[in-house]
């Protein structure tokens, strides 16, 4: 009946997933700084020791949040690439993710909140990186262009989030992001 997976539902069903979701809610409300294991457990309706049981400690829970964030971002980028076949639209999908999933974004790019050298974290991050700047066998020039593209959309999303984009440019971040990204010199091979 139940699909065999590494996460075996016992009492709760799938507490691990529920705790990550609760953590995302908590971070959206109060920031990753203010998140606590006790609060997250409360949101999921279990005792805080249950949360500690699954993740060890707060850093472990945040690592799980980061992993899930990288996975969702990779899925979004892949969908954008397959649907529109345009490199620009992958960048816009990146901005959309950053602004619609601020909790994931905050944790993913906040070094020090969790152990970034954790193999599972590295794997999830590498999956996203491969989509953004190509796999290991890409030339340095290809990689540099990918990083330039990643940098510009990442930077733009951050500046938007921190209120550094002047109001006179409008209210639609995606539209402004397109105008900003158009300043990037895209090689022929990457054009849509």
């Amino acid at each position: 009946m139940r699909p065999k997976s590494t996460i075996r539902p016992y009492h709760h069903g799938d507490l691990r997933t529920a705790l990550v979701a609760a953590a995302v809610d908590a971070i959206e409300e109060g920031g990753a700084t203010a998140m606590s294991l006790r609060d997250v457990a409360r949101r999921a309706g279990v005792t805080h020791t249950a949360a500690a049981y699954h993740f060890g400690d707060k850093a472990g829970l945040l690592a799980a949040v980061a992993i899930e964030g990288y996975r969702q971002l990779a899925a979004d980028l892949l969908a954008a690439r397959e649907q529109q076949r345009s490199f620009l639209e992958m960048g816009i999908a990146y901005v959309r993710f950053a602004l619609s999933q601020p909790a994931y974004f905050e944790v993913m790019y906040h070094p020090g909140l969790y152990d970034a050298s954790d193999p599972a974290v590295r794997d999830a991050r590498a999956e996203t990186a491969a989509l953004l700047y190509g796999s290991r066998d890409a030339t340095n020039e290809q990689t540099l262009f990918g990083i330039a593209a990643w940098s510009i959309v990442h930077g733009f999303a951050t500046l938007w989030r921190t209120g550094n984009i002047p109001a006179k440019l409008g209210k639609d971040p995606e539209e402004i992001a397109r105008a900003v990204a158009s300043h990037l010199r895209v090689p022929r091979s990457r054009r849509g």
Copy 2:
């Protein structure tokens, strides 16, 4: 003898400044998350109530850190512009600031740590913004290019800090930043 200023040294001399410096040290060691008023006061050699007296609360101290960060960044950018007259070198100065002053950088771009609508914060931020994308009377196109440039160096600095730049590109972030920034299409009017 003593210059008249809004910060009047009493017992300590200039405790306010000393507390901001101590906060920067604390943030470099443990992140803005872990910083506490008590720890900062301890570092400055005063009681924690003295810190509360000057800044009200933790958010007030972090706002002071952010303001000082924006001021120092603006000074660095201005110096780069005046010395080298090259727009690219302003971008490299930005990356250099981000990587050499991680505590300021972390606080400045971490919305939610402090009250970003505080007038003093807004002023300090506007000073930096004016250098990066021009004053209020710039055309939208000029502003958009400035934001593109700011985005790419900001994004690159963040990706470097979070370990997202592959090792095969080398060890010198400034050098890689130049290669990355070269993918930006710079208008004639902004060339060095």
